[in-house]
């Protein structure tokens, strides 16, 4: 009886990470939550996976918030050629 239940709870790492991803998008069913918990309890890799992904997403959201406040986090900008082309185009547009 117990092994039957445990059997149903057993999922692979591939399934566990997929479920963890789903948990970002919707509420997992009770069964799904148990499956994830059961697997993460036995698999250190899968236990680490979700918090790492959460951290990545949080960092991206922090970057996004910086943008929203008018701050440009570091990154490549446009090269001077592109900028000059744009300035030219603006000058032309303005002289109409």
């Amino acid at each position: 009886m117990i092994s039957k239940i445990l059997g149903k709870l057993s999922i692979s790492c591939k399934q566990a990470t997929a479920l963890a991803s789903e948990s970002f998008e919707r509420k997992l069913t009770l069964k799904e939550r148990w499956q994830l918990r059961y697997h993460a309890g036995m698999c250190i890799f899968c236990k680490r996976w979700k918090p790492q992904v959460e951290m990545i997403e949080k960092t991206l959201q922090t970057i996004s918030k910086k943008f929203e406040s008018g701050d440009a986090p570091e990154g490549k900008g446009m090269d001077s050629e592109a900028k000059n082309r744009m300035k030219e185009a603006i000058r032309r547009e303005q002289s109409h």
Partner: protein, 188 residues
């Protein structure tokens, strides 16, 4: 964040806001040429509607608002003209990471780190940028809309023109790929 009259002169917009707008666009569309085009369109639109600028927000905020719409329009059009194909779903990420039994081939490392501190490190931000760039463009775009913009699945589905199941598959692939890339390029 006040502006003097000078900031209302479009000629200085490229120098003042060009890079900011470009980076903003690139984060969402993942393509340098498209990003440049969108910035240019935004500045043009700004020139043409300068009269309607109320001055309540800063010029940068106002231009960013214009850019946001252009980005969404671009994405919507792009996905309508070139719907996501089966090929893009059959991406190899999952096969590369898991064996036939569905177990991790290489495992998941222990990232001992303070998330707050990491987010403040310019180099980590760069690493994330590099890893985002390694994702297939369309995956990164969907991921940006959902995770960076915080759009609901419903809204993302409308723009990308797929079902929510498909979006979830795409997001999962993006997560797997991003995390793996960071593990290799930053934490190792």
């Amino acid at each position: 964040m006040g502006d003097d009259k000078k900031d209302l002169d479009p000629e200085v917009w490229v120098d003042l806001h060009g890079d900011y707008l470009y980076r903003y666009a690139f984060l969402k569309v993942r393509n340098t040429d498209v990003s440049e085009d969108l910035v240019q369109e935004t500045l043009m639109a700004g020139i043409n509607s300068k009269k309607r600028f109320s001055g309540k927000s800063s010029v940068r905020t106002w231009l960013t608002g214009i850019l946001k719409h252009k980005i969404i329009d671009y994405l919507r059009t792009s996905y309508r003209e070139q719907p996501i194909s089966e090929l893009e779903f059959g991406d190899k990420t999952v096969e590369q990471l898991f064996d036939e039994l569905g177990q991790w081939k290489k495992g998941v490392g222990n990232w001992e780190s303070n998330p707050q501190k990491l987010a403040e490190q310019g180099e980590f931000v760069d690493a994330i940028s590099v890893c985002l760039s390694k994702l297939p463009d369309r995956l990164a775009q969907a991921f940006a809309l959902r995770v960076i913009d915080g759009m609901s699945t419903k809204e993302v589905c409308k723009i990308i023109n797929v079902t929510s199941t498909n979006i979830n598959v795409m997001l999962h692939r993006a997560r797997l790929g991003l995390r793996q890339c960071l593990e290799v390029n930053w934490f190792d």
